[in-house]
């Protein structure tokens, strides 16, 4: 494969799904072209459909093929970069379970604590259901073997990276601070945060608590 990969993402400030494959590629050191589409505009849907029939970001294009959905992109990358999953078979199964749980679950957390990297909403969004989601995430992070969930950074960490940014925005105390610090110290994470702060676009309905 000589052609570079292209990753189609949404606004860095808001698109938690986009961050997942983006940070995995950065930590792996795989070069790629980034194509950012501004979400929630009249032309957004048509722009995304130019890249994928599913109509959602993120999308990875490589050569003549297209992979969509963050978890599918991570599995695709793991076929070439096995270090994204733990070496040990049982640990690998566990990492996949945690990643898939993030992919399909925590809907209350997503709704009431949507990602908004540059904003601070301390104490907001704490419904009983959100607190239950936070408790479950705390239990998962409490078993981190350090500094990341399974030692070194992997696909499971990529899936939980946006949650770290949410907990920062909503000032959620309690979950494994060392894990959050390790994630926030990644150069790629710092780049993403900085780019989010510089993004000129605001989406009023995603600035939940103003």
């Amino acid at each position: 494969m000589t052609s570079p990969m292209q990753l189609v993402i949404g606004n860095k400030n808001y698109s938690s799904w986009s961050l997942r494959p983006w940070i995995a590629l950065k930590v792996l050191g795989v070069p790629f072209d980034e194509q950012r589409i501004v979400l929630r505009r009249a032309e957004t849907k048509a722009e995304i459909l130019r890249y994928s029939p599913a109509g959602r970001v993120p999308i990875l294009r490589h050569g003549d093929t297209v992979v969509w959905e963050s978890l599918a992109i991570l599995e695709y990358l793991a076929e070439r970069h096995a270090q994204l999953w733990p070496k040990d078979r049982a640990q690998r199964a566990r990492a996949r379970a945690i990643a898939a749980e993030m992919h399909s679950g925590f809907s209350q957390l997503r709704e009431h604590m949507s990602m908004n990297v540059r904003r601070r909403y301390p104490g907001k969004g704490r419904t009983p259901e959100v607190l239950a989601d936070i408790a479950r995430i705390s239990a998962i992070w409490a078993e981190a073997t350090g500094p990341f969930l399974f030692g070194e950074f992997g696909a499971a960490d990529a899936m939980y990276a946006p949650v770290v940014l949410r907990f920062r925005t909503y000032a959620v105390e309690g979950p494994n601070r060392r894990y959050m610090d390790a994630m926030l110290a990644l150069p790629a994470m710092r780049d993403w945060i900085e780019a989010s702060e510089r993004e000129p676009e605001s989406i009023a309905e995603l600035d939940l608590y103003e």
């Binding site: 297209v66 990643a99 479950r136």
Partner: protein, 220 residues
């Protein structure tokens, strides 16, 4: 290896790994737990930290979430080729399974799986109709691009068919009319040995879970 599942009539997530293992002739012990009226599965805490079915238990270790179970089984039984062998087909298969895993909320909410019942015309909202159109588009592209070797999404049986099997039963329950190619795919899935076996068992179940029965007239 144990697979912990919920009610066969209602639990679409349970159906996916069960159909996968059975259709691929991989031996496992089935442990069935039943939903209470709020959709909680009694006793599942013994097996899974998430409190949800399905769970696969291998050597005492729980693996939860249907997609993680399918990936893990595929990895442990490479000779079964549960993902398509062709790299392009495999990427597409993983994408459409992940799309099913996180999406189609309107379809799921308006047309909950209910194998033994028939509610023709119910649940068709603008949003669920859009979800169904996307499902048909997925099936049509898989069949036309990668389906040459058989009647299933990637020709021969794969995780993708196990993943979309509960959708096929929903389209039957709610009698959704489909384009001929999509209907032919549904018929192929309904003809799979494992799918027939699951559906026969579902029809014999008598438990009524109110949470999953928005269109039932009895028990109300």
């Amino acid at each position: 290896m144990q697979l912990i599942i919920g009610n066969k009539n209602y639990s679409s997530w349970s159906m996916r790994p069960w159909v996968l293992l059975r259709e691929a002739s991989i031996a496992f012990e089935e442990v069935q737990l039943k939903f209470d009226d709020t959709g909680h599965v009694k006793g599942v805490e013994r097996y899974s930290p998430t409190g949800r079915v399905p769970v696969l238990v291998i050597d005492g270790d729980p693996i939860w979430d249907s997609l993680a179970i399918c990936e893990t089984v595929a990895e442990r039984y490479p000779e079964k080729q549960l993902w398509p062998a062709d790299a392009r087909a495999r990427r597409m298969a993983r994408s459409i399974c992940a799309e099913m895993h996180s999406g189609f909320q309107a379809l799921r909410a308006a047309m909950p799986m209910n194998i033994r019942s028939r509610y023709p015309g119910k649940g068709l909202t603008p949003e669920s109709r859009r979800d169904i159109e996307r499902v048909v588009q997925i099936w049509t592209s898989c069949r036309s691009q990668h389906g040459a070797g058989g009647a299933l999404l990637f020709g021969r049986f794969s995780i993708a068919d196990a993943y979309y099997a509960p959708v096929v039963t929903r389209l039957q329950t709610y009698a959704v009319s489909l384009p001929p190619a999509a209907q032919a795919y549904c018929d192929a899935v309904l003809g799979l040995r494992a799918v027939r076996e699951w559906m026969d068992a579902a029809r014999r179940e008598t438990e009524f879970v109110a949470d999953d029965e928005p269109y039932a007239t009895r028990h109300r």
